[in-house]
Amino acid sequence: MASLITCPHCGVRPKEEFSIRGDAVPVRPAPNAGAEAWYAYVYVRDNPKGRIQEYWHHAAGCRRWLVVERDNVTHEVFSVRDAADVARSGSGEAA
């Protein structure tokens, strides 16, 4: 259930310890990318149903940024990874 998130650093924690900071899929464009790319990055979002990736900040725990992959229909959680690890592995950029 999404109300319990297994932080890779802290273990099983209630969702109240986290703040959800939005879609983890969009990739920040290069500084010189056109206005359209920046507009899309800042404002344009899908409203997907099903399996999604989100940034969760473990505000009341280890204070690490996490990437939570979960289903927003069934609340099933598939994976919780440290955002730094995701960025290093580059696997968070599959849009």
């Binding site: 924690r13 209630p14 109240e16 310890e17 009341a60 204070r63």
Partner: protein, 190 residues
């Protein structure tokens, strides 16, 4: 006609109905007791990238301190015998470390008693069974809606560290949750 005469020799000590609410119900510690440590030394310590393992080992090698886990590469170092300045000097000798004195910014409380887990279960949502949070374990946890650090210092004893501005709230909340077991509270001896 009948006249009632009251025995005027009997003297009652006047006690206001809110006396206990103001002064406290019990002054001597019960089996369930919340002790507030007056002036502990609490340092916040971070390890630079690549130095995590070395810093951790060096902190654990220090004498007269307890090391509390906050998250990856971050700890609270607590001492009841070494002062903040002296401990800060010791910790800053470790390679790849950033350390800051939080002694005045944090409050340390110790709660103990046979049903301590039942009390804590009412103000935090983490499994405290020894299989998942054994004696010696510590972690940053939401305690009474406040981001704090919890450490298990014994089978039935825990230490709570919270930011000082939230300490009053947490203290009142934990006391309330302990009423079921007549939890008493006071400053500790150390």
């Amino acid at each position: 006609m009948c006249e009632v005469t009251l025995p005027m020799t009997l003297s009652f000590a006047h006690r206001h109905v809110l006396e206990d609410h103001i002064v406290g119900f019990e002054t001597r510690p019960n089996p369930h007791h919340l002790a507030v440590v007056r002036r502990p030394t609490i340092l916040c310590v971070l390890a630079h990238a690549g130095f995590e393992g070395g810093v951790k080992a060096a902190l654990h090698a220090l004498e007269g301190v307890c090391v509390r886990i906050c998250g990856p590469a971050e700890w609270l170092v607590v001492s009841h015998s070494v002062g903040p300045e002296a401990l800060l000097r010791l910790v800053r000798e470790i390679e790849g470390v950033s350390a800051f004195d939080h002694s005045d910014g944090r409050v340390l409380m110790r709660i103990a008693g046979p049903n301590v887990r039942s009390i804590l279960a009412k103000c935090l949502a983490v499994d405290l069974h020894r299989d998942s949070f054994a004696p010696g374990a510590s972690a940053n946890i939401l305690i009474a809606h406040v981001a704090g650090n919890l450490a298990r210092i014994g089978e039935d004893a825990f230490e709570i560290i919270v930011p000082r501005s939230y300490a009053g709230t947490v203290f009142e909340e934990v006391k309330e949750m302990g009423r079921e077991f007549a939890l008493t509270a006071g400053f500790s001896e150390d």
